[in-house]
């Protein structure tokens, strides 16, 4: 009896918060309800929008679902003095699990593994069939360097500007890799910007493509691509790696993994390895990379003026890159005759974003001639864009001091 009455006394005190350090009110202070800040709510809403776009609109769902959920998980409020949860938390020597995931991003480990997977799933035939289209992938990289200049004008330093510029390469892993090496503090914003715009390719590119081409150009049909022998496909990754990496050693890591993956695919004797390079390993890395990038958008690190600038620059960058590819196609046409002329729409695929921008070209082309299939032609500049961005990344990594 005395037990139960003293129990009641204690419980009353406990709930009112005067029973010492431990009580319901003090616990509530440490929950999300006590710790929440407006920034968290903003970021959670952004995460929800990303998930909505991914599921309803099918914008790059393999990226936006993990990133979107990661943004939510990274912005649930908590008291960082009690537990290591956020991606930068270390408490009593114990690193948070999100921090362990993020290590794969920060160390630059994940992007080359993704490139391995891309290599193991990409058919380079289109490019082998019509090598001159490679130049469209080169031209589109002007987006990277103009954005770099723009970033300098907006007050970023050289390292930051270089990392921001790479967003214009339209290549998530490349952007993450470069940022992790020379501007780790901007990594979150750059990664989110790069991936967001990759998802928004079907929105950003078409108006620019229409603006810069004539109706006749858009209807132009191209010569069918030729059959490519298996020997060419096997030799290509080796030769291409030697040439590009000698020219831009900073790209050894990215291009090495890309062409290594492609050799595994084409060699015909390592299918077992190619299958998991583009399957399990790729999926695991995509899950962890996307989620980790998402969690790195914790409001009090992420919601800054700089992040907004990076988003603006990213959009400009994509636009310039698209224009660069289209205009260069028109420039090349000055030197080409008859059925060798290029449909300048495929220049837009010179940004990377494989294969989304090539699909945009296909869709756009068929708006003007329902029987004009440009997809396979667009795959050549598209893949060249990946290689081109990696070379540009290599140049930046060797020139910009870090």
């Amino acid at each position: 009896m005395s037990m139960s009455s003293s129990m009641v006394t204690w419980l009353t005190g406990f709930l009112q918060g005067d029973s010492g350090s431990l009580n319901l009110m003090s616990y509530l202070d440490d929950t999300g309800f006590g710790q929440v800040e407006p920034g968290n709510i903003v970021m959670i809403l952004i995460g929800l929008v990303m998930i909505y776009l991914a599921i309803k609109k099918d914008y790059e769902p393999l990226l936006l679902v993990p990133i979107g959920f990661g943004i939510i998980a990274g912005n649930i409020p908590y008291n960082p003095e009690l537990m290591p949860i956020g991606y930068q938390d270390i408490l009593g020597g114990q690193q948070s699990v999100f921090g362990l995931f993020y290590f794969g991003v920060k160390s630059g480990l994940f992007p080359p593994l993704i490139f391995l997977g891309i290599g193991a799933m990409t058919d380079f035939s289109a490019l082998l069939s019509n090598p001159k289209l490679l130049l469209l992938g080169a031209a589109a990289q002007i987006g990277i360097f103009l954005t770099l200049l723009g970033s300098l004008l907006l007050g970023f330093n050289l390292q930051e500007a270089a990392a921001i510029g790479i967003i214009g390469g339209a290549d998530g892993p490349t952007a993450i890799f470069v940022a992790s090496q020379i501007s780790p503090h901007l990594l979150g914003a750059i990664a989110i910007a790069a991936y967001s715009y990759m998802g928004l390719v079907p929105v950003i590119q078409p108006p620019i493509m229409r603006l810069l081409t004539t109706d006749e150009e858009r209807k132009r049909k191209m010569k069918p691509v030729r059959q490519v022998s298996q020997t060419e496909k096997i030799l290509f990754p080796i030769i291409a790696f030697l040439i590009t990496s000698f020219i831009a050693p900073g790209a050894i890591t990215l291009l090495g993994m890309l062409f290594f993956g492609n050799l595994l695919k084409e060699s015909g004797v390592t299918d077992r390895l190619a299958k998991d390079a583009q399957g399990s390993l790729n999926n695991i890395v995509v899950i962890l990379l996307g989620f980790a990038v998402g969690t790195s958008t914790q409001a009090h690190y992420f919601l800054r003026w700089d992040s907004l600038k990076i988003f603006a620059l990213g959009a400009v960058s994509f636009a310039i890159a698209t224009a660069g590819g289209v205009l260069f196609a028109k420039f090349m046409n000055l030197f080409l005759r008859g059925d060798r002329k290029i449909n300048p729409l495929i220049g837009a695929a010179g940004v990377s974003a494989v294969p989304d921008s090539a699909r945009v070209v296909e869709v756009e082309g068929r708006k003007y001639d329902r029987k004009n299939h440009l997809l396979m032609h667009a795959m050549a500049p598209n893949i060249a864009g990946v290689i081109g961005s990696a070379i540009a990344a290599g140049v930046l990594l060797s020139i910009v001091p870090h």
Binding site: S6, L11, G20, Y27, P355
Partner: protein, 138 residues
Amino acid sequence: MSILAGILLRQTISSEMISGMMKDGTGIAVVGMITVFAGLLGLTFILPLLQRWIDRGQIRMDRSRTADEGTPAPVRLAPKELAAISAAIHAHMCFLDQAEKMKLTWQDHEKPYTPWRLAGRAEHLQGTESLQNRIRSR
């Protein structure tokens, strides 16, 4: 097991209980159980709202689908039927595959049948080179 539990209970119901570490322990237990119940109660109340909200949207589109249909009886198909269905699905999916592959690679894999390609050939014939393998993103 139950004896030990008994001992624990008897020890617990002593006047010493609400003091020192046990006080903390009890506090934690109470906060803990309240939180656990709060979390799951929250879900218990919100889930029906969620359902109703979705159903409302559904009703506009399709009045017949909101009915409580109960647990569907396990459909027991004859092996023959299953085989037929799976063959049909397989054919259908292969066709989708073909279509999709056309877009991205514009040709099926044609590999020479030299001896040193045996391993590769086997994988290719067997591999389900399906939609899931298409390059969507990095």
